[in-house]
């Protein structure tokens, strides 16, 4: 029952729900990546983030990235969820779970997905700073 599930949501992401049922009897490894809102970026104190997506295209592009991961690596179920709207410090912005028979493929495909997501998927992040300014970020963060 391998599948590829990709979504953009404005609801809080529950890591346990993202993991649930991802591994089949054939899988020996699961890697879950969580992106979390930090309290600073480039030395500026961040109060919150606002994410905006071109939702229809973002879901299609996530699906392409997930399919590429499945074509390149020996992986089973892949789930990718990205949140939009206002996020507070410590909240999860993106969750990626990958199950695989072997751990190398699980790690490598997870990493592939987050790197491609940050390059290609039409989602934007605006940082709200403690002093009140809000700025759209251009380009990926580490």
């Amino acid at each position: 029952m391998q599948s590829l599930q990709c979504s953009i949501t404005d609801a809080i992401i529950d890591p346990a729900a993202v993991l649930a049922g991802t591994s089949s009897d054939n899988d020996g490894a699961v890697v879950l990546f969580l992106g979390v809102v930090r309290d600073h970026n480039d030395d500026r104190a961040v109060s919150h983030l606002e994410y905006e997506a071109y939702t229809a295209m973002a879901e299609a592009e996530l699906r392409k990235v997930g399919q590429e991961a499945r074509d390149r690596f020996d992986v089973g179920t892949v789930r990718i969820v990205h949140r939009i709207g206002r996020l507070e410090i410590g909240e999860v912005s993106v969750a990626i779970s990958v199950a695989s028979p072997h751990r190398a493929a699980a790690y490598e495909s997870s990493r592939y997905i987050i790197e491609e997501l940050k390059k290609r998927v039409p989602i934007w992040k605006r940082e709200g700073y403690l002093e009140g300014e809000r700025v759209w970020l251009a380009g990926g963060t580490k």
Partner: protein
Amino acid sequence: MIIRTLFFASYKDIAGSDALDIELPEGALVSDLVSQLRACGDCWNDLPASPVAAVNREYSPLSTSLAHGDEVAFIPPVSGG
């Protein structure tokens, strides 16, 4: 023909709107849509001359020719994750 044109993030601030219906002559390319927008002056000059664009939710070159009812989105540098 009418082209549904979408703006996100910083481009939405430029356009002052998240979506505009733009009238273009038949056979126009995405690059013609960009030129027409930038010709409006004012903050429209802040739209890059060669922005990344998507036609009907697929990344597409500026040389793509448009048809009535197409949806064009201009994509600022993405920053998801």
